[in-house]
Amino acid sequence: MQKISTLEILLAVFKRDISLALRRQSDTLGAVFFFALVVSLFPLAIGPETKLLQQIAPGIIWVSALLAVMLSLSRLFNDDYQDGVLEQLALSICPLALIAVAKILAHWTYTGLILLCISPVLALQFNLSGIAIEVLLITLFIGTLILSFIGSIGAALTVGLKSSGALISLLVLPLLIPVLILGTLAVDAATANLPYSVYLYILLALAVLASFFAPLACAAALRIALD
């Protein structure tokens, strides 16, 4: 028996969440397939005209990514709440807010990053230019991180509620509108050969803000739920 540091505890939480996600492959892959499916629905609904699709592609991919991530959020804290593990997390010598960070980063890894991997393929379906795809990937990289952080607040507020899926989206999507706007503006700017880095910087700033404040809000919401 030996004592371990806070960092090692967080690493253990991170690894555990990833390993649980791997054991529940159907859920993890489900989000990815949902993403791909929703993206494909739009051309079917709107028509195959290349120019139009090229124009709306960034918006479609972004909104679909948002929805796919929303789907996976309800399990973030609910499972631990149902088993009683959440109580133990709240009693850990490691601050609950830091544990939330570890869980959120794990969530990003098995949701956002995976979506990121297949988005180039989907972007090609819409004939986006090389630079546009590049910027799309960068914005999605930062954006999905923000999504996981802010989404976790919604998950924490609704922990223990039945059918929290739609409620989480209702709570969290309005807060994610700036991310959506900045992400799509960046890609549009890149496509039109205009400067786009300012949008990326602001996204980064939002990511830093979210990563600092969201875990605190999460911890507060989780303690309210345990009350």
């Binding site: 028996m1 090692e8 088993d83 009693l91 850990s92 010598i93």
Partner: protein
Amino acid sequence: MLSTHELSCQRGRQQLWGNLNLEVAPGELLFVKGANGNGKTSLLKILAGLLLPDHGQVLWQQQAITKDPYAYRDQLLYIGHQTALKPEMNAIENLIFLAGLHGLRYSETEITAALKQWDLQGKTLYLACRQLSQGQKQRVALAQLNLSQQQVWILDEPFNSLDATGASTLAQLLQKHLEAKGILVLTSHLHERGQDMTPPLDAVEQLLQL
């Protein structure tokens, strides 16, 4: 020493109990009795710091636990109604994780030895916890006690789902803990103390009827 000052608890619009002034010194046991719904679990959760009391304070070493929660949590082991075992992980993985939350790392050998004392060995240890019976899960959860370094144990109905052997193992563990100057807070919904603890614990006992 664990103590409370003017503690009161309200659930919904009803006050369950109030004006509680407790003192549990090292080596002492606080046994909380009462019918279901009288607030036993709420008391234990408040003592553990999971719930905020409606009024009053919980004190550890004369200091409010809200002032330095981490110092208290370092010395606290709380086992509630739920076993806190992830159904997808096996017994060993679960125990390693739970101990890790308390800042302790155990080798697989140490964990296996602890589980052996609860009559769990061999293939059972590597099965996903969802495949274990309720009694087996309870024993895995209680194995945390064997591994514990904490001074304060707060246990909510630990004798649930245990057979006579299990109950005896538990009683022995609790006895050892008290002899080592540990603090124990316990609830049981069974009526008379002594009925579910065989042999009865030999310690300074305080009985709280809610």
